[in-house]
Assembly symmetry: C2
Homo-oligomer: 239 residues x 2
Amino acid sequence: MTENLPKGNASCSQCALQKICFPKGLYRADIQLLEEIVDRKPSLAKGEMLFRAGDPFSAVFAVKAGLIKVYTESEADGEVIHGFYLPGDVVGVDALAHNRYLFNAIALDVSNVCSIDLTQMHSLTSKVPNLNMHLLNIMSNEIVEGRLHSELLSKKSAEQRVANFLWSMVVRFRDRGYHYKEFRLNILHKEMASYLNLTPETVSRVLTKLSKQGVMTWKKKEVEVFDMELLQSLANSPC
Amino acid sequence: MTENLPKGNASCSQCALQKICFPKGLYRADIQLLEEIVDRKPSLAKGEMLFRAGDPFSAVFAVKAGLIKVYTESEADGEVIHGFYLPGDVVGVDALAHNRYLFNAIALDVSNVCSIDLTQMHSLTSKVPNLNMHLLNIMSNEIVEGRLHSELLSKKSAEQRVANFLWSMVVRFRDRGYHYKEFRLNILHKEMASYLNLTPETVSRVLTKLSKQGVMTWKKKEVEVFDMELLQSLANSPC
DNA sequence: CGTCTCCTTGACGTTCATCAAGTATTGTGG
DNA sequence: CCACAATACTTGATGAACGTCAAGGAGACG
């Protein structure tokens, strides 16, 4: 029952995520300009789609609250999950080169997002160069994350993958200033398995083991970490 | 012995890759501006590093000729290969968010690259908005490619992975106007295996099978494709 | 309160990794 | 240009990690 995530529809200059959205190099005046093109959408219900593969591209979305899953659905291979996006993350930058979104994005929990229209943003580029730089940073990070994830899938055991996933959630919550020893994670084993290229059965077995070792528990969508150090070492080191 | 790749140090406005580097929206005047910040480097010898993980970031590189491998080297897991870059590709955009390159890039063949200094490029952003858009496109594509690659690793069999890799090379050469039924590919089985999360032994077995089926051969770094359709269907379809 | 989905646990199977040994190819120094 | 060493490739035999199949129990949702 951790209440962990910001709510509401604050303006950018009041938003608790400001430090994340604008990590550096954006000044008060810049933010006010940006504010004019940011559209604060109504809450997304759990299970509501943010966009679908094939939808015409118009905007990227900054997550303010909740949890967004990005995935593809294919006849042959079922669902493939490419990422989970927390408050402070930006979703949809991959669609920039194309006129359409190539992936699906769905809210796994009640979520709030700001939409940032790219056409309007481009018109700001010349006035606020740092804004453009910030977008480049986000995309560059997305590329790096993707590669690290490939590395995880390629080189790590089932146990390491699960530990790594949990540890990365801990770090992300911690760095954003939320509770990180216990937090809500509305993700199915099936979904985590897909993201980690495992089966739900394997995930279950690993979680049982981690629980028996006293590292952490994950019951009813609530994660609780007991041994941070051990979790971290399981996440990084071999066997 | 296919002579397949452009050589030399043409200016942007004369470069054979112009259509690739500037797919659309860049006008003659824009290109001349860009030209001033493009630095045409001397050839890279086979085995020469373009940059190393940890090097300070300064520029991205457009590949004009040859073949560049991007990879990480780790104590625990050995070499992990993230991509092979052909003429017309751009290397190093992932480093934009950081002050350093996070991956290694090495020439697998004699190669030519243009380096594009990012600081200088930023100063052009306001004058040439399309140039910035082009950079965003390249990065967005890189994100998408990464996800498709993850999907390949997650969902496809060894045979499909190998077929898919070869097919993607065929497509890339074809779309850039090079020979694509036979071409030089100076990549070790070991490297391909790493990229596809397989072992050299498995790669060898699959290639032997493809050869026996009359699909293609790959001998002494020369690839020859006999049955495009079959290769394509092996690359895409299940089993 | 009942149904449906999710999770758990066990038994078994498969794909691909590992180990090993021999052959071919590439690179190097003379 | 040759000789030889080092590296890469091939092929077979064996094994292991994780997937698949199955069945029972718990949780979620109407």
